[in-house]
Symmetry: C3
Subunit: 203 residues, 3 copies
Amino acid sequence: MFYFIIDILGTIAFAISGVLVAMDKKLDVFGVLIVAFVTAVGGGTLRDILIGSKPVGWLHAPMHLLIIVATVILVIIFMNRMKYVLKTLFLFDAIGIGLYTMVGIEKGLAADLSPIMCIVLGTITACFGGVIRDILCNEIPVIFNKEIYATVCITGGLVYFLLIQFPIDNTIAYSMAIVTIIIVRILAVRFKISLPNIYRQEM
Amino acid sequence: MFYFIIDILGTIAFAISGVLVAMDKKLDVFGVLIVAFVTAVGGGTLRDILIGSKPVGWLHAPMHLLIIVATVILVIIFMNRMKYVLKTLFLFDAIGIGLYTMVGIEKGLAADLSPIMCIVLGTITACFGGVIRDILCNEIPVIFNKEIYATVCITGGLVYFLLIQFPIDNTIAYSMAIVTIIIVRILAVRFKISLPNIYRQEM
Amino acid sequence: MFYFIIDILGTIAFAISGVLVAMDKKLDVFGVLIVAFVTAVGGGTLRDILIGSKPVGWLHAPMHLLIIVATVILVIIFMNRMKYVLKTLFLFDAIGIGLYTMVGIEKGLAADLSPIMCIVLGTITACFGGVIRDILCNEIPVIFNKEIYATVCITGGLVYFLLIQFPIDNTIAYSMAIVTIIIVRILAVRFKISLPNIYRQEM
């Protein structure tokens, strides 16, 4: 039940981030809806395609589609009051990447993958919805050069695989990894931490 | 046989739209061919990947590839006379999206998906070739903010699932849905109907 | 063993080409890593998804990931001396596309595909890592209008299927196809051969 609520909140947060980027590009109603949908389900879809689970999850779970459609409609109606929502949105988003990272890691474990590949899958689940969103909107993905996002997911994954080396209940390790992701993400944004940009000096 | 001819005409129409966009970007012969191919088969490919049908359809049907290569060669040779073809092209294109929408819906039904997901798959089949075409050419997909395209597919899908509630022969419902898509598409272009663009006022 | 070494050299060459493009876009460390990874494994991943082999190869072979991470770190450290490496890099790259084309053709044969589709798969394996790299970096793929790349792979594939019509050992045909690709690629770059660009005159 707890899992279910967080999944919905995460979906809403991801969909809203899609709507906001799509609006900046002045897409039409349908374009906004597609971008919101892809942002919310794109990471999990790519993960399922890579693992080869068939068919992709959301095809059998129309709930996500309905939530995303409702979110898009509400954002469009209330868009001028969105600034009051943005702070809360950021929290949902942090919770969402925490949860989705661990969902991806779980799916990787279920598919008998090594810890390192599980962390890759968790990161893809949490981050690649946003990557596809930015590609559809003709931008370089924001997580590639502005925001600490993937690094946070990797950190959470490492914490999880570290904790389960100890005699700790799996649920506790799982929850602590999610909490780690949420806290690191909030700290990174709060203190404007970012990774160094890489470019070549003149040769 | 009828189905077969429409499929070929649709493939040609989609391939030509790919060639035209690729030419605007001054791609080389091979780039033009790739973009034409992806425009023609991209939507169906994405649908097959999402459903998990393996392998993707065109790998066993070289006919599409040959038709697309022939189309690209003919367009390059006759490109200065293309304007006489463009009106006919638009009609093929409208027939193509009608047909492909219903092909996608059929595949969704065969995979036991709910009506809403079948409509999603039909829309992906008809529209995402064009989306991938525009991404490869570094443009925001035209169906996201300029053309009524996906909405037409969704309308056709709704008509189909409405009709089969009644004691009507499936073939008739199928055909009527295709005809609906063609007519709505022609009307939308004829009267320059478009969806409202969404953007935020200053906050 | 020989195959193994070439695979590693090819991976390194592809990863470095990813790093160089990502640096031009001033991505952060993580963005550079992702782009390098996608460039190196993207073509094979797309091939596996299209054939429907499950799961995608690299999920069970962490070696590639480790090599790519090491390559990225080394390039970042030594980036100001990269110009001494670039010539060697080009040779590795040529060897890489030769090898990957034939790996893709082999996978196509193993999946019972026709020669023409095997060549398509081989070309995808060798070229689409670079295509995805350029899309992620918000550029029109360089192989679409500047470089002879895919044409080289197709040539190699044709040579292979031509040779196996004769009573020649498969390994020899395989090796000669790779050598053909390497030589044609080097000649194309050496003599700045490119395909004609296609665009419409005023209509």
